[in-house]
Every structure is written in structure tokens, then in C-alpha cells.
Symmetry: C2
DNA sequence: TTGTCATCTGTCACTCCCTGACATACATTA
DNA sequence: TAATGTATGTCAGGGAGTGACAGATGACAA
């Protein structure tokens, strides 16, 4: 990896960290792009070359998680019930969080705190991930031989799985200072979810 | 109702209709507030006095639906399982759509079409409704004697119910020109949802 | 009818988000 | 070291959204 790429990555992470800290200090809305760029000593224009929008920063982990889910889904056996597959994908996201660097660990916790302070950001994450969600629906439909145009079940399966992941990640109203605590809660949520559905519901006629 | 209020309501609806038509004709992003205001012959400043944002227009039905859900939940018997209560609330929203004026009927169909063309707007709706969703979680927790801070079940219950409503309303990839078709699909989705959960899951220990 | 009062509206000026274009500075590679 | 490609800063500008102020228009009482 050349000097150029190293510098880019460094700037990218510096922007991300500066933004997360400012968001938590003085609020998401009141923090301007100019401020964030100022901390890292780059121009606002450069900021937008690294992150397509201010939102993009706050939704950093979400983008990453969606990639993992898509990859993971492709690797699941075809005869596995689709909802089970998706919960495996959520667990893959959790595993990735567990295997992350200490720096990324801090970022996960900060993002969670940010979501707690700004619940609307969760919705913005849904908005940003709408394309991915559609692709997941397509994939689930393909794997189960269903037509997503006339059959809402694939959309329901994906919708429920994503809702489960969000609820697990948010942990509203709790002081969470440890990644293990966060991932533990996410796991616990998945266990509750698994016990909530009727066996075979995601393969119903 | 005085002339003043009638004029206001007229302007409000004119803005809404002009916006929906423009959104469907030339796209949501490319339509400017100035254009919408221009059609109705008011200033952009006045537009923002009627709708707090451009998004607010597109999310008109969503705001309305959330109000109904909150009211409805309060009227449900306390001994009813919470998820069942919420599905009743969704049905109250559907009933309201069925009882709406022909003008509102057109608007429902246009909004649905708009969501189909711009899936990210669904997420924006989630973002806008995040406060309401939190209140629903609080209410479900209160009614079931749970602590939303340590117990994710209330959040899951609400998350699943809202996901069900969204999936039913979206009807991705389908030509829908009739309100009865739309409400029928939403009902059908709810029936699928009701059959998917294990009895008593929303009261689990 | 008229005058007063409340409210609605338009204009203006402003901040912030975000983008395209262009010139410059820098890293890479030969 | 020279040539090339990429990253950055500056500048200009559009669109969303807001605060302040003045003028227009309904509401209402005398």
C-alpha cells in the first residue's frame, strides 16, 4: 500500500472520528460539515469527496453491515429456511464487530450512542439501505422460488430480520460502554426473535 | 368555519396535490419547492408555513396513519396481547383509508406510487415517525408491565408491526389503480403476519 | 360601514448541504 | 528528473430551510 492510499485512509478515519466526536458533543444537527472538515484541516469540498453526505458519516457502520449481510446470504445453503439464513447474516455482522480493531470498537459504541440521541438517524439508515433491502428481498425470493411482485412473504422476511437487527443494535436507554455488552444484547435479541415465530412460517404456501 | 380557515385548507390541499403530481411526473428529487409553490401561486416561504419540509409532503399519509395508530392503541383492552392490539391499529388505519373521500383516495394511491418509485422515502417515513414509534414502544411496555430499558420485546413488537404495515402498503412492483386493491393487499399481508408468529410470543417471559 | 386587531403572506437576507469546473500541488512510475 | 495521474483547494452556484419585517387580508365589534 503506497503513501497515497495510506494518507487517504488516514484522512477518512480522521474525518469519521472527528465527526462522531462532534456529533456526540454538540449534537448531530448543530454540527456543520465545515466544522468537521476544520478539525481535520481539509476543505469542505474534500469532505464530500470522502463521504457523499453528512448522513453518510453517521451511517458508516450500517453500510458496512449491509455489505456483510449480502455476502453472507449468498453463502448460505439453499435448503435453509430464508429467515434462518438472514439471522445467520445478522450474526455475521455481530461476529465482524467482535473481530474489529479497538478503534472500530470505539466507533461502533459511538454510533450506537449517536443513534440513541437521534432516533431519526435509524430511519435515515433505513432510507439509505433501501436499495440493499430490495436486493435482499430479490435474493430471498429467488432462493425460495417466489415472485416478489405477487408474494409479500419475502419482503416480510427481510423486513422482520432488519427490524430485529435494528432493535438489537439500538438498545434504547441503556448505558453501554463495552462492545461485548452490545454484541451480547444483539445476540439475546436474536434468541428472542428465533423463539417468536412459528416453525416453517417463512416457507408457508 | 370561516373564510380564512377554508382558504388555508384549500391552499394546503392544492400544495399537496401539486406536489404529488410533480413528484410522479418528473421525480421527487428533481422537483423543487419553488416549482410546487409556483403551481399554487404562492411563495416558497409560504410553502414552508404549510409543510415543514419537502419530505413532509411525501409523508403526509404516514403522519395521519401514526396518529390513528396511537389513538387506537389507547382504546384497546388491556388484556389483549400487544401485537394483536397493534395489528388492530393497523386495521384502523386501513379502515380510515376505506372511509376517506375520493380526493384522499387518489392521494393514497399517488403516495403509494411515489414510494414505489422512491424506496428511500419509506425510510424517511421511518425517520420522521421515530418519535411516534418510541411512544408506541413506551405504551406497549406500560400495558404489558415491562421495562423498555432492559426488555427488547416491546421494541420488537412495535418494529414487527410497523414493518408489516409498510410491506403491505408498498406493494412493490404492482400496478395498483384501485384503493380496494391496495387495502385488500394490506389486509392480506396482515393475515400472513398473524399466521407467522407463535401464539403468545408477545407475552413471553 | 368603518376602524381595530389578529393573522396570513411576500420579500429579503442568511446559513447550510451539496455539486461542477478548474487550477494547483503532490505521489507515482519510468 | 520528467511525465503522468490523482488528490486537494478555491470559486461559483443551486436548492432546502429559517428569521425578521412590512404589507395585505380576513375577523369582529361599534
Amino acid at each position: 500500500m503506497g503513501l497515497r492510499e495510506r494518507k487517504k485512509e488516514k484522512t477518512r478515519l480522521a474525518l469519521l472520528d472527528a465527526a462522531l466526536d462532534l456529533f456526540l458533543e454538540q449534537g448531530y444537527e448543530t454540527t456543520t460539515v465545515e466544522q468537521i472538515a476544520g478539525v481535520v484541516d481539509v476543505s469542505s469540498r474534500t469532505f464530500f469527496r470522502y463521504f457523499s453526505s453528512k448522513e453518510h458519516l453517521a451511517l458508516w457502520w450500517h453500510d458496512h453491515g449491509e455489505e456483510i449481510m449480502q455476502e453472507c446470504l449468498r453463502d448460505r445453503p439453499l435448503d435453509e429456511p430464508p429467515f434462518t439464513s438472514l439471522l445467520h447474516c445478522v450474526r455475521a455482522v455481530i461476529a465482524d464487530m467482535r473481530n474489529s480493531t479497538p478503534e472500530d470498537t470505539d466507533r461502533f459504541l459511538k454510533v450506537r450512542k449517536l443513534y440513541e440521541n437521534n432516533p431519526m438517524l435509524v430511519g435515515r439508515a433505513v432510507a439509505r439501505g433501501s436499495q440493499t433491502e430490495l436486493r435482499l428481498v430479490e435474493e430471498v425470493a429467488r432462493r425460495t422460488g417466489r415472485d416478489p411482485a405477487t408474494d409479500q412473504l419475502p419482503a416480510l422476511i427481510v423486513g422482520f430480520a432488519m427490524a430485529a437487527m435494528r432493535v438489537g443494535f439500538e438498545c434504547p436507554g441503556q448505558e453501554i460502554t463495552d462492545l461485548a455488552e452490545l454484541t451480547g444484547r444483539m445476540e439475546a435479541t436474536l434468541v428472542v426473535v428465533e423463539a417468536s415465530f412459528r416453525p416453517g412460517w417463512d416457507l408457508a404456501a
